[in-house]
């Protein structure tokens, strides 16, 4: 069955042949309905086992904190069966949307088959490995067969940037703040859709966590699977390199030519565009207080957990405050006292899943504050909560004070 699904996908895509892959990330552990369980158990019972190193995306349960997710007996049982089937097929029980934070880091140019839109954007862009956008099921079938259709972003010619994104008009101070990246990503997904872009004008000091937030937001509002950051990401030491230029390559007909650069389109990030993206991340515009705070989409890194503990300075939160992370990252945070500090401040940790894919937030509903572009994008439809987007500093201040704190001065220039 696994090979039939891979071949059917290759046919649907018009791929000429299959290639070998060296790792897989399976986005099929999340219970959406009984079909996903049926599929996983059909694979397992048919004798399928993963043939390459494979990590697992989030499931619908926090297996380490029973009761964290509200679900009825049937859904709990099915969610558990679905997660278990993939572990029994030999995949690592990572249960995280950020496998790149728990030791699963393919090298530059490596062919892999990854699911989960933020992980796809990260592995392609930040790590320089090569994956197409794999959906649920195909990623699992690639893990079992060790094969993937030769298509799309597996190929050199599809990895060159078509669109240049100019960030140089944004004040430098803003481009260095964490709060900027989910907003830029939200804007980018809407402006660039599915294009491969080359972003110029970001500081070389941009962090992995910032690029993670950028990619996750861009893959939520659009279908961005690969972005280059000039001077930062592995395939973009220069703009010419990101554009795939060698010698005097003129690019396809209709592309623009400037000295040293050929591209299809250039878009400029301006204040109005960013403010519109910022506004889009908030749906509860009139809120003066919030009912819950959630961070960690994609799952928080150890650095982000430490930053949260640093900002809290031992103070207790007045509203439910959820931090979503990988079980492995949480285990690391136990070692240096970060986990203990967060618990003492009243933070609720969620591992193996997150608050927009499983019912974790208080049932009463209301307003959710987050620093995550992805949470802000998906929370209204998936949880019924209205959302307010703000920086991590604002999230902490709001949770400690009990009334909404938002610093928006930086967005005006």
């Amino acid at each position: 069955m696994a090979m039939r699904v891979v071949v059917a996908a290759a046919d649907a895509l018009g791929a000429p042949r299959l290639i070998g892959v060296s790792s897989a990330h399976i986005d099929g552990c999340l219970y959406h309905g009984d079909g996903g369980v049926e599929f996983a158990e059909a694979l397992y019972k048919g004798g399928a086992r993963v043939s390459v190193p494979t990590t697992l995306n989030v499931g619908a349960l926090d297996l380490l904190h029973p009761g964290r997710v509200r679900s009825d007996a049937h859904a709990t049982d099915m969610a558990r069966r679905q997660m278990k089937a993939y572990v029994e097929m030999g995949a690592d029980a990572t249960f995280t949307c950020a496998p790149y934070q728990v030791g699963h880091e393919p090298g530059v140019g490596e062919q892999v088959a990854w699911g989960e839109s933020n992980a796809i954007a990260f592995v392609n862009s930040v790590l320089g490995a090569r994956t197409e956008r794999y959906g649920d099921f195909l990623d699992a079938c690639c893990a079992v067969t060790g094969r993937a259709p030769l298509y799309g972003l597996h190929l050199d010619e599809n990895r060159r940037a078509q669109v240049v994104v100019d960030v140089t008009r944004v004040p430098q101070d803003l481009t260095r703040r964490d709060v900027f990246f989910p907003v830029l990503g939200t804007w980018l997904g809407r402006e660039a859709g599915q294009a491969v872009v080359a972003i110029r004008g970001l500081s070389p000091t941009v962090t992995r966590d910032q690029l993670k937030a950028l990619g996750a937001a861009a893959a939520s509002t659009g279908a961005i699977a690969l972005f280059h950051v000039v001077g930062v990401t592995p395939e973009a030491p220069t703009l010419s390199a990101a554009l795939g230029l060698v010698g005097s390559d003129a690019g396809p007909p209709g592309w623009q030519t400037q000295p040293g650069a050929v591209f299809k389109d250039e878009i400029t990030v301006d204040a109005a565009g960013l403010r519109s993206a910022l506004d889009r991340l908030t749906t509860a515009h009139d809120a003066d207080r919030v009912d819950a705070v959630a961070i960690g989409s994609p799952h928080s890194s150890l650095d982000e957990l430490r930053e949260l503990a640093r900002l809290l300075r031992g103070r207790r939160v007045q509203v439910p405050f959820y931090v979503c992370t990988a079980r492995a990252t949480w285990a690391e945070s136990e070692e240096d006292g970060t986990a203990a500090a967060l618990r003492a401040s009243g933070i609720d940790v969620v591992v193996d899943t997150c608050v927009v894919v499983a019912p974790v937030l208080p049932e009463a509903g209301g307003v959710l504050m987050t620093n995550s572009g992805k949470f802000a994008h998906y929370a209204p439809a998936n949880t019924g909560y209205g959302v307010v987007y703000g920086s991590l500093e604002d999230c902490v201040a709001t949770a400690v004070d009990g009334r909404l704190v938002r610093d928006e001065a930086m967005w005006r220039w």
Partner: protein
């Protein structure tokens, strides 16, 4: 032969199906955007929020967002809430995969067709459409 009231696309996943046309005004992520138990568009930010996609010929510029959309397609088919056919300006493998797996598990699949921009607009203006296995789409104009 394509009749004067027909257009021809590329069958991304071959099949047959027809019904009333629902042309979306914006790209859609099935995960986080469609409720498989109701068969409706559940993303409150989507211009077609609340519309029923079950049994419709769903016409959309492209799919966006989560790669979990294939799982939602499988659930839609299992729950008999799937569109009759999906026609997209730019197809990717994600929705098609949900259909392939549904068929592997013994459920009845739906066609997915990729259609160029001009023909997509023609189809969007039709009242009903019928997709056949070779990617030909017969249109019934609005009266």
């Amino acid at each position: 032969m394509v009749s004067p009231r027909g257009v021809r696309g590329r069958p991304v996943h071959a099949g047959e199906g027809g019904g009333r046309v629902l042309a979306l005004d914006a790209p859609l992520s099935f995960w986080g955007g469609v409720d498989p138990r109701q068969g409706t568009i559940s993303d409150p930010r989507h211009p077609n929020h609340g519309e029923d996609i079950s049994g419709r010929v769903l016409v959309l510029p492209s799919a966006i967002g989560s790669s979990s959309s294939s799982a939602i397609m499988l659930e839609l088919i299992r729950e008999e809430n799937a569109p009759a056919a999906v026609v997209m300006g730019k197809a990717d493998a994600i929705l098609a995969l949900g259909v392939v797996v549904a068929e592997e598990l013994g459920y009845r699949g739906i066609p997915i067709v990729e259609l160029n921009g001009g023909d997509l607009e023609t189809l969007s203006g039709a009242a009903e459409a019928h997709v056949s296995k070779d990617g030909v789409i017969e249109l019934t104009p609005k009266t």
